[in-house]
């Protein structure tokens, strides 16, 4: 069935939506959903205080309507099913998700997809700082799944990321892929300062403007045509700035040697 939660008006404080997952809600009827407790600031209030609930049809989709930019943890620890947000969301969108599909038609706040381990997250707008990174204090960032951002990304994107595939169609802020452990990130636009700062492994693909490369990266004298074709062909199916990657020439920079890293910045000509 499809469960629609329409936010009547933006909450006055931060509203925590953890636990509102397709698998959980599909086992409940509308009245039970309305009684679910949500954390609003320091208070715990029933869901019906904020949302109109409608349950209909088949499928396992959970749809949110309205401006949820003060609603955090949409799709938190999601492990299956489908969530669609017809608007913007707050922080931690899709954080710790392990399976399923989450689509955000607006923007996402800070820490989107942080520690994401599987599934697919699509943000049609922008993401804030620390997307695809680790929760504060945690050692490992995103560790699986795919994140596609059609807009731009804030700072520290992919901090400590260790697995998974990420595409950002727009620009990215400073410290893009800082302390990255592994994984693949492709950027269609322009990156800020200090790309790959302290990265250990992983691949950063710059399909748009060439970034400023730190002196702690070394130019690769050997090509890597096989892995580039495998990666480029996979990225190409997302279209946009990545559509023609497989046919383009690339230069690679390796590092960050300041931390003994062997990651690669793949700069598309």
């Amino acid at each position: 069935m499809t469960i629609r939660l329409r936010l009547r008006q933006p909450p006055s404080l931060r509203l925590d939506l953890r636990g509102l997952l397709p698998a959980v809600l599909s086992a409940l009827d509308a009245a039970q959903i309305e009684r679910l407790a949500l954390a609003h600031g320091r208070q715990s209030l029933p869901l019906a205080e904020f949302f109109d609930v409608a349950v209909d049809g088949d499928g396992d989709t959970l749809a949110f309507e309205g401006d949820l930019s003060r609603c955090d943890r949409v799709g938190w620890q999601m492990a299956g099913g489908r969530i669609v947000v017809e608007g913007s969301v707050g922080d931690y969108a899709g954080a710790c998700m392990s399976a399923g599909a989450l689509r955000i038609e607006g923007n996402a706040g800070w820490l989107a997809a942080c520690e994401m381990a599987g599934g697919e997250l699509l943000v049609q707008g922008d993401v804030g700082d620390f997307a695809a990174s680790a929760q504060p204090g945690s050692l490992d960032g995103m560790r699986g799944g795919s994140l596609v951002v059609l807009g731009s990304a804030g700072q520290r994107f992919g901090d400590r990321m260790r697995r998974g595939t990420v595409l950002v169609f727009g620009d990215a802020g400073d410290f893009f892929a800082s302390r990255m452990v592994a994984g693949s990130i492709a950027l269609g636009g322009r990156a800020g300062a200090h790309v790959g700062y302290g990265m250990r492994r992983g691949s950063l693909v710059f399909a748009g403007a060439a970034p400023t490369v730190a002196p702690t990266f070394v130019p690769a004298i050997a090509d890597a045509p096989v892995i580039w074709q495998l990666l480029a062909r996979d990225l190409a199916r997302h279209g946009g700035p990545f559509a023609d990657l497989a046919g383009r020439r690339v230069q690679r920079q390796l590092g960050d040697v300041a931390v003994g890293g062997k990651g690669e910045l793949i700069i598309v000509d």
Binding site: S203, A222, I227, L230, R233
Partner: protein, 305 residues
Amino acid sequence: MIHNGLYNGVRIDDTFAEAFPMKATRLLITAHNLTWARHAAVSATGFATSVIACGCEAGIERELSPDETPDGRPGLSVLLFSMSGKELAKQIERRVGQCVLTCPTTAVFAGIAEGEAVALGKNLRFFGDGWQISKVIAGVRYWRVPVMDGEFVAQETTAVVKAVGGGNLLLLARDTDAALAAAEAAVQAMRRLPNVILPFPGGVVRSGSKVGSKYSGLMASTNEAFCPSLYGLVAKSELTAATRCVMEIVIDGLTEADVAAAMRAGLDAGIALGASAGLLRVSAGNYGGKLGPYLFHLHKLMEAA
């Protein structure tokens, strides 16, 4: 054209080939150009005629154009067959490690997606001595091992599937020239088909064997009933004074239907040459039908559309 088992003058025996279950995998070997892909594939499928002493039976299945390979380079698909998944895994590792990893510019990928996963690049990565890097692309893990021409890329695992080994045809001909011509024509026709390999040299084996031997410890020995040099000497020969040379073609395939299709293609090619070209009879090797679960009756193959 059909007269009591005669097709274009070639007698098709009322017998059957007996085949066995095997485990198989397909590998896709690509390289900078087809020449180097072929060097790797030939090397990796070398000394792989029979599981009796080679560990596996292997061969090149076909050429792959750049648009058929994962990395857009030319390549070849090879099939490897063994009696157990464990032995096959060992052979894959040895052969890929010594013959593909070593060969300039090559990369290796799994050619079968569904099945039990066995290591492909998973253990070979340690050649990288810590410099190897894993890359997961579209859910598939690859290993990038630094080598002197750049890097060797190998998919982490390949899938092992159940397969059928030991389909065969015996071509009984007037003389060596006729037997070779018939065998070569049959091999050419069978190699056009997917999912099969002919593991012996040139696809042909001249030392057809029977199970056992007068010598203890020998698993197989010459099949004297088909040896023209023993005609008149052995108590029971399968030959006549007119059939003075016999060649066998052994077929391993991914499924029973693949082996059957290849046998039929070989039969058709032999029959097309006909008795006038010196192919007098086609038979098949079996063990009485008690050992192998797959029986390929020649007459049934001929009856199939």
